[in-house]
């Protein structure tokens, strides 16, 4: 009987070791890498080189800008989709599956799909030429049109990753007992009031999860940007990649990673603080 007490620990041990080995240790290594010089001494040199780099300011700006634009757009769209799905009885599963298809597509593939649309001989130009809006193929994704690259990245990200927010919110909505909405209805709330006064507050825990997850992933955006804009739209994760690969400088690459980590942690803390549910606060 006594040995049974250890069984749970034994069972979770492999996954704990796995996580320590593949996540905690590299994380620690990256942190150390960013604050050590080539001789192994403690230094802020890597951060200084990073900050002095021409691309740094743009990378920081575009990463934050993408996050600020993409995440709210995705949450609003996913919320709308999830609420619409709640109103459907027949064919509900069909919509659910169709809307979650992008979940199965890798981010690089998603980037390439949108590249095929926006490229010089892509679908967009063919279409616009076909209906006679333009005579010559337009160059949408060049270093001269960062705004257009930005828009294309936003479109690709929204198309690719809204589904995960949607899935989280659908699951969250299903957890809310329908009596709450019915009670609100009986006591005189219009559909709009029911959404704002009852559904949305009760959905807060799921919304929080979705926001944290999506914000962290948006701060790491990389493959879609590389496919659509290369370095014409610099982002933090991309810079880490270039410093590691092209410049062979792991120290500065690690500094970029630490910056991403720092922003992610701050964002997560903000979400947890701002969206603390009253039930938790009260209990």
């Amino acid at each position: 009987m006594r040995s049974e007490r250890y069984i749970p620990y034994v069972l979770i041990l492999p996954s704990v070791l796995f996580l320590l080995f593949l996540f905690a240790w590299p994380l620690l290594e990256a942190l150390l890498l960013s604050v050590r010089g080539s001789g192994g001494q403690w230094t802020l040199e890597n951060f200084q080189r990073m900050a002095a780099d021409l691309y740094f300011k743009d990378a920081l700006k575009y990463t934050l800008l993408l996050t600020v634009v993409i995440v709210p757009l995705q949450v609003v769209m996913a919320l709308g989709m999830a609420m619409l799905l709640g109103g459907i009885s027949r064919g509900r599963d069909l919509f659910l599956y169709v809307w979650t298809i992008p979940l199965g597509i890798s981010d690089l593939a998603a980037g390439i799909v949108w590249l095929a649309i926006f490229t010089e001989r892509g679908y967009l130009n063919s279409f616009l030429q076909g209906i006679g809006v333009i005579q010559q193929p337009q160059l949408w994704l060049s270093y001269e049109t960062p705004t257009m690259i930005f828009v294309a990245v936003v479109a690709a990200e929204v198309w690719r990753a809204t589904a995960i927010v949607f899935v989280i919110l659908v699951a969250g909505l299903q957890l809310i007992p329908k009596e709450y909405s019915e009670a609100a209805e009986v006591f005189g709330a219009t559909p709009w009031q029911r959404f704002w006064k009852v559904t949305l507050p009760l959905l807060m825990p799921s919304l929080q999860v979705a926001l944290i997850l999506r914000t962290i992933l948006a701060l790491e955006v990389f493959a879609v940007v590389v496919a659509l804009g290369g370095r014409n739209l610099p982002v933090l994760a991309g810079e880490a990649y270039y410093w590691y690969n092209a410049y062979q400088n792991p120290g500065v690459a690690a500094a970029y990673s630490v910056i991403i980590l720092g922003i992610s942690v701050v964002a997560t803390m903000l979400y947890l603080r701002l969206m603390r549910s009253k039930r938790e606060g009260a209990a």
Binding site: P177, E179, Y180, E182, A183, A184, E185, V186, F187, G188, A189, T190, Q193, K197, V198, P201, L202, M204, S277, K278, R279, A282, A283
Partner: protein
Amino acid sequence: MASIRVENIEKTFGKFKALNGVSLEVRDQEFVVLLGPSGCGKTTLLRIIAGLEQAEKGRVWIGDRDVTELPPRARKIAMVFQNYAVFPHLTVFENIAFGLRMQKATPEKLRANVERAATLMHIENLLERYPAQLSGGQRQRVAVARALAVEPEVLLMDEPLSNLDALLRLEMRAELKRLLAESRTTTLYVTHDQVEAMSLADRIAVMNTGYVVQYDEPMKVYQEPANTFVGGFIGSPPMNFLKVRVEGQQAQLQSLSLKIPTPAPGPEVLLGVRPEDLEAYLEPQPQSFTAEVLVVEPLGPHLLLTLRFGQQLLKATVPPDFRVRAGQTLWFKPQPDRLRWLDPGSGQALAAR
């Protein structure tokens, strides 16, 4: 205040017919209980009246307004849900105030109504709390207070006490009765608990398989069940139904002969008699029948006997000091004015006595 009237309500879920053309009228200020086993359609009927469910056929009237096509929010109703549905993200005050906020009541009226409802339910000291900090009974009080605060024309209650433990249920039952007698709000109350129904109702509508089988005052429903279903569903233990032979206008049980008030439909008739309406004797009696005691269950206020009468089983209750053992034979005389005669074929009561 207003009356409720439903006419020929039909409702189907898939292939299951939940309501088979139900008509019912609840008078102004009346307390009516819908009573029946699970699946009888009582909750569906309540939800149709609330507007949370749409009937395929039939109309719903509240007062003199036809509300059939109206959404719930336009029906001027209030409802207490089985699991309370007290909003977890709002304080008790805001929960009670919810309906008034939706009506855009003035701040003075809002505060006055919330405080009055909270005081009625004895939760005036909990107004700043969140539901997570309340016990089940307190949440129940909040749910009722929320319903009373809007001063509804009709109040609908869907098994409001069934999630409480037995002791609390007893307490809340008496309190609800006092409260609703005071407020005189027209109330329709759904329950599967016959004691609750008997205790609270002005009238009980007994439902089974999508029909209202009897609609009458509690004691009438208890003493004069419309059919074997009602007699068996109400009362614990249920009414006994004895098959007895008919000779002319008389039903014959051994030395006991009983006059049947209406012509019997055949050679046999069902005699409905409540366990407490059978008087037991240890010695032979004129005008009685004998039965063998199979089981004696001491229940405190009385002993419950399971008896064999010929091929049939019946139950009787006797005073707790009655000296009886299993295997004994007893003589029984039923209370002559408490008998119910029914058709053994259809199970329906024979026409009025």
